[in-house]
Every structure is written in structure tokens, then in C-alpha cells.
């Protein structure tokens, strides 16, 4: 395997992870340059080249793949720098995207804000009302045309939008996923009127292409978001591609997708890049887990402002986002779910006087600017990082590998004035409570996320990633009662590491209602062609697409998943289909039985209701090509005892179960040998993080360079 360069853009840093052959990966970080992401991007690549002792030409010329988890699209949404688009939709339904199923004001909001009903607002739309034009047409729920579409009507709509300055068209018609004929007709007319070889050529996006799924609001919004960020991303990525080519890179730039795969820039829908970094991290957990033989993994990533949670179950990423919201837009992309909650090192602690002085942590965050009080950048609010510092867990002179000095006095003052004094307790007790509360919130949130998917967290291994993951893992892990916590050596750049592990993959989805067990007749469907034709259609699309990527049909693997429901349930339960095609009632019965089995496991057997009828509502065909990734080779273990050189100074750290501050040994993570064991309490400092090993916990540095934590004593929290 040749060189791969993997990049994950974060709010503060852009992370890089390079691999070559069987050698150890190289890590670097570069400050994210928000004014022009390519600056930080190229700077990091230069740093990697230096790390390998090569020139840029040599380095990029020898690179097989550059894989990129980009936030360009998300930034375009936040900054609202997308193009002026025109929306052509079914006449009479021009307000669908503004109506937003009513409660769109709540999408992307937090629960407390959504409860303050006098102050709610919907997001400012990406397409203003005057740029929406209806055309007379209508399909019904079976995809039958009820009202034909007239060419003259389309021309009139186009002229109106062009006159108003449209720079692109989004075409979203009702029931187009069931019958796209009218949307395609609109596209044909646009292409006739504004041919590609003319300067006035305007891009056209059809909802039946971008998101062929039921439910017009999310289908329309998905298409609009895709169109809105498409141009910005295309421009930026073209520029980046040119810079890479100028630097000697000869292969296509690959983009990581939120579906857990990657594709060339030229074969990527923009909307599939949202949140790709965390999804890449989750994929990294899946891959690293395979090295350990773990099938069930809870992935967490605790950074400065957020705490990401994802699940690997049965050795697969099969949990799709139930309501994928991008910024404030509810979409229907088949994204792998990585949930984010407002808890991190920068989360602010405060006292809720109204509720009897209860202590709250977050969801507000001090972020990185001004950041925690101890950063001395003007922050006056006490944060989780301040509490960690006061409790002696963080080394004020070795934070982020010594790149930032922390001021403990500022932490104490902030905690005293905002928490300790209002509660009538001392600063240390206040810091202890802040930590206890945030750990509980994270632990309980993780528990809920895992449990809501029908899993028992106790059957999982916990991966604690992110800069603060190792610092709080012993605090939140007991809420999950997991047996084992893994803190990867790649943890500080885990998203970039994860990008190195993703395959060429895309999910092709399509809504299609099929009643495979009829309620009225209480029998299985006899219509097998309907099922098979949808699967074949998706297979053909996937195969054609991957051929353009340069892969032959023999290299392509498929997996079929189905969204199913009983009767008139609205929400759907996804299963992996036991059959790629059906040829008799027995096959339908097997699918139904599998659905009921899964449903029963998630929601209890009392909830099942097969006699109510069983529908398939949506097909998801995952097409993938297995690619090589760095197979980590475990290093030989060197014995239990850490070498003397790994022992740093000891310092006072607070351990609640031991009754207060105790002199605690500090270790240097990098100088620990594989196999070394440490019993808590102890502190282990790595360049990008600090392990807080609480009493009762045991640490082992394993052959993969990860820290493995196990609770050997009684858990302190529950």
C-alpha cells in the first residue's frame, strides 16, 4: 500500500494522518484557516512532507490517495454564501419549504430554547419566497399523473426566475420519487433553453435525483441544501485540487461521506459531506475495533465544545441518523448517525437559582475564544477544563504538550464567584461537583443513545477519543457499565485516522411502498417483481456510478437494508434484508420475521403487531469496494512495570473516593512501553491529552499504542 494522506477539518485545528506501507502513521495538526481552508490544508501537507523528510513534489507525487473530511459545505450554510437559487415546485405547494411541517423552528435548536415559545423563530430560508415558482402539474400517491405538465408553464416559470437573477434551479415536485417524469421534463426544458455550452448555462438539481424519498419537506430541503453548497464546494475543491496537482499529486482528491464511505470529488453529492469528520472517526473505531476483535463499540469524542457519540454494532455501522439536521435544515440523507451534545471542556458551569440552586453544566460553551477562564483570554465563566485544573488533573505547564499555559488562579476565581459562593461550598468541592455533573450528563446521554437503538451498553466496548476523552473516561464510563475503555494513540486526530480506513462506498436509496404482508387479507404479497425491480434499479445505478470510478462489477459488493413498519406507523425500523431478491412468499415471510425479531429486540415483544400488516417503505442499497488501509501490527509487550523514565513528577490531585487531595504519580504516555500497567489513582500525560486514572481503574498501554482502561474496583457512579 502506498502513501495516503487523510485530513479532518475541525473548528480549531485541521488534523492530518499519513500512512505508508506497513509503517507507523504520521500525525500532525495545523491551525484551521477559516478565511481560506486550503491554506491550513496545504500547510499541514507540507508539515507531513517534512516529517517524512521529502520535498512536496516527492511527497505528493508518491501519494496514492488524499482523503478529505471537509466542512466546506457546512461553512457555506452557516456563512450563507451560496448562490441565488430558484425553486420550481408544484403549483399550490410553493410554501412547503417555508411551512417546514410546522415545527421546523425547532430543528437544530436545543430543548430549553425550544421550550421558550414566545421567542422561537424559523431559520432564514436558503431560497426566498419570491424565488419560488409553481408549475401546474400533479402526480398522485401511486405516481399516476393527475395533472399534466405543460412546456409553456415551465418556460414561464424559468423566465420569471431568470429575470430575478437565479443562478441555478432546484426542481422539487410532489411525488417525483414515485414518478420523476415531470421533474425530468423541467430539466430537459432548462437544458434546451440554457445549453451547457452557453455562458448562461445554469445548474439544475432534481429532487428525484438527489433524494428519491418520500416526504416532500425533507426531500426538497435535501435538494436545496445540496444545490446551495454545491457551487461553493465545487469552486473550493477545484482550487484545492489544482494546488495539490501543482504540488505533484496525480490522483483524484477523495471526499469522505457521512454515509461511511468516500468518493472522488467529481462523483460526490455535496450534501453527503456534512458531518463526515465524526462519521470518519466512527469508522476509525470500527476498523480499530476489528484489530481487537470487538464487534460492538461505543464511540465517543470529547472536544472543547461538543461530545460526539456513535455506535458500531455487530461489526457494522448500521445506525442511520433518524432526523439528520444540517445546520437548521431537516434532511433525509442516509447518513450514519453520530450525535453531538453540548458537553466538552469548554462547557460552562452555572447555578440555577430558580431551581433551588441546582448545578448545571452547559449547554453553553466558552468555546476556544475566549475559552475557559484558565486560558486567560478573557473568559470569566467557569468551565469543565477549569474544574479539571483546580482538581489537579491538568498540568498548567504541559497543556496541549506545553503549547498553552494555564492560569489556575483564574479558574479558582471563576469557580468561586459563579459556583462555590452561590452554593456556599468551597472551590474544590464546587470543581468536584462540576466534574461529577458533566460526567453524568455525558454518561447518561451515551446510555440513551445506545439504548434508543435497542442495545445493551454493557455488551459494548467504549472508545474515548478527543482531547478530553481520556481525562473524563473514568468519570462517564461507569454510567454505561462497560467492561473496557480504549483510548487510541490516534485519539487526538481520530477523525483523520478514521478517514484512512473508509472504503469506496455509497448508499443508493429509494422510497417505494410495498405491502409485503397484507392487513386486510392477512397474507403475504405475491408481487415479487416490485421488490426485485427496485433492487435491480438501485444496483444498476450503483454499478454505473462505480464503473465511472474505475471499478469493475466484480469488485463491487452490495448490502440491502429496508425501512419497514407495521400498518400505518409513520416511523420506520431499519433492518438488513436477509434476501437481495425475492422469489416466493417464503422470502417475504423471512423478511417479515426478521423485522419482527429486530423490532421485538428493540421495543419488547409486547410491541410487535404482525397482523397489523407489514410494509417496506424504503430500500437502501449500499455498494462498496473494499480498499486497503493500514493494518496495525501490535508491538510486543515489554512487561507490566513502567520504566523509570516514564515517571514524571508527582502532584496533588483530588480523588473523591479517597477523601480529598493525594500526592499522585504522573506518567509520560510516550515513554510507556507496550504491556506497562498502572493502577489508579494516577495521571498520564500525552502530548494532546491527559489520562485521569481514578482509584479502582487499571491502565494498560497495549501493543497498538492505545491506553486500555478497566474498572477493577467498585464503580463510583451509577
Amino acid at each position: 500500500m502506498g502513501m495516503t494522506v487523510n485530513i479532518d477539518i475541525g473548528g480549531t485545528f485541521t488534523d492530518f494522518y499519513a500512512t505508508e506501507g506497513e509503517g507507523k502513521g504520521l500525525i500532525t495538526k495545523s491551525p484551521t484557516t477559516h478565511y481560506d481552508l486550503s491554506v491550513g490544508f496545504m500547510k499541514g501537507i507540507k508539515s507531513l512532507a517534512r516529517g517524512y523528510g521529502r520535498s512536496m513534489d516527492e511527497f505528493l507525487g508518491g501519494t496514492d490517495a488524499v482523503r478529505y473530511s471537509t466542512t466546506l459545505g457546512t461553512n457555506a450554510l452557516i456563512e450563507r454564501n451560496g448562490p441565488k437559487l430558484g425553486l420550481i415546485t408544484t403549483a399550490g405547494h410553493e410554501d412547503a419549504i417555508f411551512l417546514g411541517r410546522g415545527r421546523s423552528w425547532a430543528d437544530g435548536g436545543d430543548s430549553q430554547g425550544n421550550k421558550d415559545l414566545a421567542r422561537i423563530n424559523k431559520a432564514v430560508p436558503l431560497i426566498s419566497r419570491n424565488m419560488v415558482v409553481g408549475v401546474r402539474e400533479r402526480m398522485d400517491s401511486f405516481g399516476n399523473p393527475v395533472c399534466p405538465l405543460q412546456r409553456e408553464d415551465i418556460l414561464e416559470a424559468l423566465q420569471e426566475l431568470v429575470d430575478k437573477g437565479a443562478m441555478g434551479f432546484v426542481v422539487c415536485l410532489l411525488w417525483s420519487f414515485a414518478n420523476p417524469a415531470h421533474e425530468r421534463m423541467v430539466k430537459q426544458v432548462i437544458e434546451d433553453e440554457y445549453p451547457e455550452d452557453y455562458l448562461g448555462s445554469l445548474p439544475v438539481f432534481l429532487s428525484s435525483d438527489v433524494s428519491p424519498k418520500s416526504g416532500e419537506y425533507t426531500r426538497f430541503i435535501t435538494t436545496i441544501v445540496n444545490a446551495y453548497i454545491h457551487g461553493v464546494m465545487a469552486d473550493e475543491l477545484t482550487k484545492l485540487g489544482n494546488e495539490l496537482r501543482d504540488g505533484g499529486y496525480q490522483r483524484p482528491l477523495m471526499l469522505v461521506h457521512n454515509t461511511g464511505g468516500m468518493k472522488k470529488v467529481s462523483r460526490t453529492r455535496a450534501v453527503l459531506t456534512h458531518n463526515a469528520g465524526p462519521v470518519a472517526g466512527l469508522h476509525g473505531a470500527l476498523t480499530l475495533g476489528r484489530h481487537y476483535g470487538h464487534q460492538n463499540i461505543i464511540f465517543t469524542d470529547m472536544g472543547g465544545t461538543s461530545f460526539d457519540i456513535g455506535v458500531v454494532s455487530g461489526g457494522r455501522l448500521q445506525t442511520y441518523d433518524f432526523i439528520p439536521v444540517i445546520d437548521r435544515w431537516r434532511t433525509n440523507i442516509p447518513a450514519i448517525e453520530v450525535k453531538s451534545i453540548g458537553a466538552g471542556g469548554g462547557s460552562i458551569a452555572w447555578v440555577n437559582e430558580l431551581l433551588g440552586n441546582s448545578l448545571e453544566v452547559g449547554p453553553q460553551s466558552a468555546g476556544s475564544m475566549p475559552g475557559p477562564a484558565c486560558y486567560d483570554l478573557g473568559g470569566a465563566e467557569p468551565t469543565v477544563t477549569d474544574a479539571d485544573l483546580v482538581l489537579g488533573y491538568l498540568n498548567p505547564e504541559n497543556y496541549l504538550g506545553g503549547e498553552m499555559l494555564l492560569d489556575e488562579d483564574l479558574s479558582k476565581e471563576a469557580i468561586k464567584s459563579r459556583v462555590a459562593d452561590p452554593l456556599g461550598i468551597d472551590v474544590v468541592e464546587a470543581a468536584r461537583r462540576i466534574r461529577a455533573v458533566v460526567d453524568a450528563r455525558m454518561g447518561q446521554a451515551v446510555f440513551n443513545e445506545v439504548a434508543l437503538k435497542g442495545h445493551d451498553p454493557r455488551e459494548f466496548v467504549l472508545f474515548a477519543c478527543g482531547g478530553a476523552g481520556a481525562t473524563h473516561a473514568c468519570g462517564f464510563a461507569p454510567y454505561l457499565q462497560v467492561d473496557k475503555v480504549v483510548v487510541s494513540g490516534h485519539s487526538p486526530v481520530f477523525g483523520a485516522y478514521g478517514a484512512s480506513t473508509v472504503n469506496i462506498q455509497q448508499v443508493w436509496d429509494k422510497s417505494h411502498t410495498m405491502k409485503i404482508f397484507h392487513y386486510a387479507e392477512q397474507c403475504y404479497s405475491q408481487d415479487f417483481d416490485a421488490f426485485n425491480s427496485v433492487v435491480e434499479e438501485l444496483k444498476e445505478l450503483a454499478t454505473a456510478d462505480l464503473r465511472l470510478e474505475g471499478y469493475s462489477p466484480e469488485q463491487i459488493g452490495f448490502r440491502l437494508e429496508l425501512d419497514m413498519r407495521y400498518g400505518m406507523q409513520y416511523n420506520l425500523t431499519k433492518i438488513i434484508s436477509p434476501h437481495m431478491s425475492v422469489s416466493g412468499p417464503d422470502d417475504y415471510q423471512a423478511i417479515c420475521d426478521h423485522f419482527t425479531e429486530e423490532y421485538s429486540a428493540i421495543y419488547t415483544p409486547e410491541a410487535t403487531f404482525p397482523m397489523g400488516g407489514i410494509n417496506v417503505e424504503c430500500f437502501y442499497l449500499t455498494a462498496f469496494v473494499q480498499t486497503e488501509y493500514l493494518q496495525l501490527q501490535p508491538q510486543q509487550e515489554q512487561g507490566d512495570a513502567p520504566p523509570e523514565a516514564a515517571r514524571r513528577e508527582s502532584r496533588q490531585a483530588y480523588w473523591p473516593s479517597l477523601g480529598g487531595f493525594k500526592q499522585t504519580q504522573v506518567f509520560d504516555f510516550d515513554l510507556l512501553q507496550p504491556g506497562n500497567r498502572i493502577q489508579g489513582p494516577a495521571l498520564i500525560e500525552a502530548p494532546e491529552t491527559t489520562y485521569v486514572l481514578e482509584p479502582g481503574w487499571n491502565f494498560v498501554k497495549d501493543g497498538f499504542g492505545s491506553g486500555v482502561l478497566r474498572l477493577t474496583g467498585a464503580p463510583e457512579q451509577g
Binding site: S141, F142, C147, L355, E606, G718
Partner: protein, 692 residues
């Protein structure tokens, strides 16, 4: 044990406030660590949230599908301590069935409350609203001790009444309103009883949906039960028993404290309704809020008396529940939602009162007087709280409903009976600094969803001709209300289906504005029998109407037997191709229309939200009709002239009262009102003006 009397329990419904702390709960208080308590509260909220999400995921009715769900954790005495919902009346009403179970069944040898049991309920006397709201709860035992209950309440819709869809405008007594079940054990040993489900199914037009909803509630309860027992296994039962109790205590203290910060005063708001079920008529609700110290008392003297044979009555507890909608969302939004929020609330309902239903009186349209009361509550509440926080003194969201009911066989040959979901897209009220949110939702179910057209059409026997914001749908003002939604339905796929509609505000506005803001204009239903709409569609007729304005306007090519109705239309058969047009109103206005930014009024015109007539005649804006360019000078002059005309129309108060008092609606609309203008005069003499 409390003996069963086979009648509604008048005592248990009085127990809306938290029960006294038990010795068990008191003893547990000393064992609770402050930090553990904070963690416990978060955990219980997560459990409730998981319960709500699970219920929604698994349910099938419109209410369930679109989030009309409340999931709660109750103390062993039945108080609701933790709830996840956007339907805040359930935060105080969901407890009554549980308290009923505690009172009547825990020690009853024929029923009993045991581990693995499950109880169903939909009697509105205990649920407080109407029979379409159905609930299920299960007890949670730990080593033989009943430590709490968990339960889910959801609007399931159809329950087998005289009219399909769960609302029965034609009901004459409660016996016309279908299944009305006080708490009943439906499962034992973790198994639902098929005989009971079979009975429910036999009483329901849409049995499948009802059963799916029951199973959804039960699944959510079982998961929550498991979570709580896991927590108890780690922390012991004391934290749960004592912690739930402490949540109530803390909430009660906080609510009293916040109320005490309001100025003392008396705030009055009469409201009128133009609907008496199947017929039109005028009714009155007369709300007086008396704020003194740390209590707010709700007084309803001079309200229309109970209507023994009309479904417009409400149980008093439903009104208290609706008061909580206002308190939870607008005044106490920063406090936990549970029945301890009632700690500072007192109430006084006259014995003979529309809002204090008794006996056999039907109540399936109770949401009408309840939302009418809510409009009064918004208006009086805005005046009561303005001094403390003007930004939350908001004009009312739309109160008048406008909800089609339907029943029949759908395009898949399956029985359906339900309501359409556009009630979850009404406009929000205007605010002190900005317009209301258009299509925001239902003020009483704010986290609910109005669905996609495609999702609704997928298994319903109609096709949406249009669904969009309709012109002049909101109350005008310095800040206008959010726009409401108008939609047209054509019967499709099937030979015919039963259709009706319920709501009020066709003759008298359903939702009034505040501080000079306008009311939401009256709305009405229109239908076209033997419509040519199908032909117009298939020929892509250039004149196809795409909104209510075009339906009502000249040049509408739709032909057939056009009828205009009050927004409440009794169920009747509509045949294939016939059409049905429904407006769901916007929010009420705030402040003087002459203070509205003229450009904002023109923007509304440009977007089709307001008509040119309104811009010219209500907002007094002068503009070029071709370019919509504002003429600032002429507008300023016109507004000054309008102000001067207002002053010219001024008269001394006594003179105004004398003229006003001569006005009286005709007798044919006062048939249920009793004595005009003061209904109470015809009932009993009592204080009309509560004093501090």
C-alpha cells in the same frame, strides 16, 4: 381500600396539586446527596425523553405520528414528576388516571396493582380533555415496593363515537362519544390481554391504529420501567422515591417564587365563541385572574352555563390543564413541567358552568372552550407579566382549530378514521419586537408536526389541491401574527368517504389580538359537490386555483354545487372528485397597525401574505401598485389623517357605555348563552368583580 361506586370519582379530580409527602418520601430526603440529585434529575429526563421518542416511533394515529405525545414518570402516589412533551396540559392532567389507580385498585383484590400490569384509560373526566386522548401506564416495583409509575398519553383520534375521528359534534350525551374508559387493567404478567384488545377493536372504526398505539405506549413504558429499575439497582430505591418527590418540591417553590415577583392585580378577559356543536350560537367564557402574593387565582363567574346536550362542555380540570399550556410555554418556561407548577395556582369554577361539566354531558369538543379560555389566558397573561418581561407578552397563537375529520376505506382497501394534521401549522402570535412565526404549530402541542402532504396522501382517501399560507390569515398590528395555512382536498382514489370538520371562529373571531393588535379574521369552510376539479386538473386548466384566495375570488373555473359552511361541519359523505377547502388561522396581532413599518406591510403584500386592500385600508400605506414602491410622504400623511379621525370619533366613557349597552346580538344566536350580557344573571347571583 376505597369502595367502587361505579361513578366518576369527584374527589380524585380535585387532587391536581401534589399529594402530601409520605413518611417514606420524607425519610428518603435525608439520604439524597445534592450532586446525586442533579444527576438523578437528568437521568429521569432522559428516561422520559426516550419514552416519548419510542412512543412516537411506534404509534400509528395522526397524533402519534406527528408528536402529540406525553411520556411521564409519576410518584407512587400518582403525581407527575417528570414529563417529556410539548403538550403541557398532560403535565398536570396525566396524573389523574394514575391517582385513580392508586386510590381504587392498589388495595382492591379484584384488580390489584402488580408488577407486569398495564392500565389503559381515556375517560376525559380523568384525562381532562376529550376521549380521543388515550393513555397507558404501568407500575414500577422494586423488591415488592411500588416506587413509581410510568405512562404515555397520546391523542389517538378515533374511538368509536357517533362521528369518526374522535370528535363528535353530534353527540347529545357522553354515550354518543364512543369508548370512554376509566383506568382499566389491560395487561398482566407483562402480557396484554387479547380479550380486552379485542373489545377495544370491536368498538373502533380503525382498530389497527388503536391497537398499534396501545402497543406503542406499552413498549415505551416497559423500556422506561427497565431503565428506572437499572438505576435503582445501582443507586437504590431511596433516590428514586425521594428524588421524584424533591423534583415536585423544588418546582413548587420555584413556581411560587416566580409568581410572587409579579405585581399584584386583577386581570379580566371575556371571550366569546360562535359554536354550539352542530349549530351556531354564542357562548361566553369570562376569565378573571387575581394575582396576589404568590398565588394566581382563576375565576370564571359570568361564564355560560353547562350545555347538557352539547359536546362543548369541558371538565374544570381540562381548563386547569390548558392554563398550564400558557404557564409552561410562556411564563414558567424555565421550570420543569410537572403538576407542582400548580402550587401557586388557585381556581374557582361556578357549579353550573360550561367549564365544569358534570353528569352525562358530552365533552368531545371540550378543546373548543379550552382553547377559547387559552386565548383569554394569553391576553390576560400578557398584561399580567408585561412588567416583568415584555418579550414574552405574546399575542395568541391561533385558537380556532379548523380540523377535517374523515372516515372510510383508503386506497389500499384499509379502514381509516382520523383527522388531518394542519392544526399543527397555525400561526403564532405577534410579539413586542417582531411578527409571529408563520405556520408555527398548535400552541397546545408545539412539538407536533403538520406532516408532509405526501405522507398524508399515502394512506388517506384524498389529494391535496394546494396547501400554503393564505392571504390575510393573521391578526394585523404593529407586529402581525404568523400566517395560517389554507388547503384544498379532492376526494381521490376511492368512491367516497365521510368528511367533516370542527372548529370555531366563523362568525366571531376565534383569536383576539393584544395591545391594539387585530384579531385573526373569521374563517369558514367551503365545499363543492359534483365538482369539475378532476377535469380541470387533467386538462391542466390555466385557471386552476392554487390557494384559498383564488377559490374565493372571481374567475375560479371550478364548477359544481358550491357551499359555504361554518368551520364546524357535521360528518357527511363526500364522493370521488368532490372538494373541501379549509383555512387554519394565523396568529393574533400586537400593537397599533399605524405603527407598523410600512415597508414590512409591503413585503407582506409582495409575498402574498396580505392583500392590497389591507395594506391601503388597514395599514394606511401608500404605494405604487405596479412596483410596490413605498410613498413615504403620502403614507405619513395618510396615517396622520387616520389618527386624527380616530380622535374625532372619541367620546366620553359614560357615553360609550350607554351606546354599547344597547347593542345586543339577535335572540337566535343567544339560545345557549342564557342571559345577555351576563350569563350568570340567569343562573345565580354572585360576585362579578373579584377583589384583591
Amino acid at each position: 381500600m376505597c369502595a367502587m361506586v361505579y361513578a366518576r370519582d369527584m374527589e380524585v379530580v380535585q387532587q391536581l396539586k401534589p399529594e402530601p409527602m409520605t413518611p417514606r418520601e420524607t425519610a428518603a430526603q435525608d439520604k439524597i446527596d445534592d450532586v446525586e440529585y442533579d444527576i438523578f434529575v437528568h437521568k429521569m429526563n432522559m428516561v422520559a425523553q426516550e419514552g416519548k421518542e419510542t412512543t412516537m416511533k411506534l404509534g400509528a394515529s395522526s397524533g402519534m405520528r406527528w408528536g402529540d405525545v406525553a411520556f411521564g414518570i409519576y410518584t407512587a402516589q400518582g403525581d407527575l414528576a417528570v414529563v417529556a412533551t410539548g403538550i403541557w396540559f398532560h403535565a398536570v392532567l396525566g396524573q389523574l388516571p394514575v391517582k385513580y389507580i392508586v386510590k381504587h385498585y392498589v388495595n382492591d383484590s379484584s384488580v390489584g396493582v402488580k408488577e407486569g400490569d398495564s392500565f389503559f384509560f381515556n375517560d376525559p373526566f380523568y384525562g381532562g380533555v376529550h376521549p380521543a386522548d388515550m393513555g397507558l401506564c404501568v407500575p414500577v416495583f422494586h423488591e415488592g415496593e411500588l416506587i413509581c409509575f410510568v405512562g404515555a398519553v397520546v391523542h389517538s383520534g378515533e374511538n368509536g363515537g357517533t362521528d369518526p375521528g374522535g370528535i363528535c359534534p353530534s353527540a347529545r350525551t357522553k354515550y354518543d362519544e364512543g369508548l370512554i374508559s376509566p383506568p382499566i387493567k389491560v395487561g398482566e404478567n407483562y402480557t396484554l390481554r387479547e380479550d380486552i384488545l379485542n373489545m377495544f377493536a370491536a368498538m373502533n372504526r380503525d382498530a389497527r391504529t388503536m391497537i398499534l398505539d396501545i402497543k406503542a405506549r406499552l413498549a415505551a413504558c416497559r423500556i422506561a420501567q427497565r431503565r428506572i429499575l437499572e438505576f435503582v439497582g445501582q443507586k437504590g430505591p431511596d433516590l428514586v422515591v425521594g428524588g421524584l418527590r424533591r423534583i415536585l418540591s423544588v418546582t413548587a417553590d420555584a413556581a411560587r417564587h416566580k409568581v410572587s415577583q409579579l405585581n399584584d392585580g386583577v386581570f379580566r378577559q371575556p371571550r366569546f365563541m360562535d359554536n354550539v356543536g352542530m349549530t351556531e350560537g354564542l357562548l361566553k367564557i369570562n376569565l378573571t385572574l387575581v394575582k396576589k402574593g404568590d398565588t394566581i387565582k382563576l375565576v370564571f363567574d359570568d361564564t355560560t352555563p353547562m350545555l347538557p346536550d352539547k359536546p362543548l362542555n369541558s371538565f374544570f380540570q381540562g381548563i386547569i390543564g390548558m392554563a398550564m399550556v400558557y404557564f409552561c410555554g410562556w411564563f414558567l418556561h424555565d421550570l420543569p413541567a410537572n403538576n407542582a407548577l400548580l402550587a401557586p395556582i388557585e381556581w374557582d369554577f361556578p357549579e353550573d358552568c360550561l367549564l365544569n361539566a358534570k353528569g352525562e354531558a358530552p365533552t368531545s369538543m371540550a378543546p373548543f372552550p379550552q382553547t377559547l379560555f387559552a386565548n383569554a389566558m394569553f391576553m390576560a397573561g400578557a398584561r399580567m407579566t408585561y412588567h416583568m418581561d415584555p418579550s414574552r407578552a405574546q399575542a395568541s397563537w391561533y385558537q380556532g382549530f379548523g380540523v377535517p375529520l374523515f372516515g372510510g376505506i383508503n386506497q389500499w382497501g384499509e379502514p381509516v378514521a382520523d383527522i388531518t394534521p394542519e392544526i399543527n401549522a397555525t400561526g403564532a402570535g405577534a410579539r413586542n419586537d417582531q411578527d409571529g412565526v408563520s405556520g408555527a404549530g398548535a400552541f397546545f402541542a408545539t412539538m407536533s408536526d403538520c406532516s408532509d402532504v405526501e405522507t398524508t396522501e399515502a394512506d388517506r382517501p384524498f389529494l391535496y389541491l394546494f396547501r400554503n399560507y393564505f392571504k390575510n390569515s393573521y391578526g394585523h398590528g404593529k407586529y402581525r401574527g404568523g400566517a395560517g395555512v389554507g388547503f384544498g382536498l379532492k376526494m381521490h382514489h376511492v368512491p367516497g368517504a365521510a368528511m367533516g370538520c370542527f372548529g370555531f371562529g366563523s362568525r366571531f373571531p376565534a383569536t383576539l389580538g393584544i395591545f391594539g393588535g387585530y384579531a385573526v379574521p373569521p374563517v369558514f369552510l367551503s365545499t363543492v359537490r359534483q365538482s369539475n376539479m378532476g377535469a380541470l386538473l387533467s386538462s391542466s386548466d390555466a385557471g386552476l386555483p392554487n390557494n384559498l384566495d383564488q377559490i374565493y375570488g372571481e374567475g375560479n373555473p371550478e364548477q359544481g354545487q358550491r357551499e359555504f359552511h361554518h368551520i364546524t361541519l357535521p360528518i357527511q359523505l363526500f364522493m370521488y372528485g368532490e372538494t373541501f377547502y379549509v383555512p387554519v388561522g394565523g396568529g393574533a396581532g400586537y400593537g397599533d397597525v399605524l405603527e407598523r413599518d410600512p415597508q414590512a406591510a409591503l413585503d407582506d403584500l409582495a409575498e402574498g401574505r396580505a392583500s392590497g386592500w389591507v395594506v391601503t385600508n388597514v395599514y394606511k400605506v401608500v404605494y405604487d401598485p405596479g412596483t410596490l414602491r413605498l410613498d413615504e410622504k403620502a403614507t405619513k400623511d395618510l396615517r396622520e389623517k387616520a389618527l386624527a379621525e380616530r380622535l374625532q370619533g372619541a367620546k366620553p366613557f359614560d357615553e360609550f357605555v350607554e351606546e354599547w349597552s344597547k347593542l345586543k346580538p339577535s335572540d337566535d344566536v343567544l339560545h345557549s348563552y342564557v342571559t345577555y350580557p351576563h350569563p350568570s344573571v340567569g343562573i345565580k347571583q354572585g360576585p362579578l368583580m373579584p377583589s384583591l
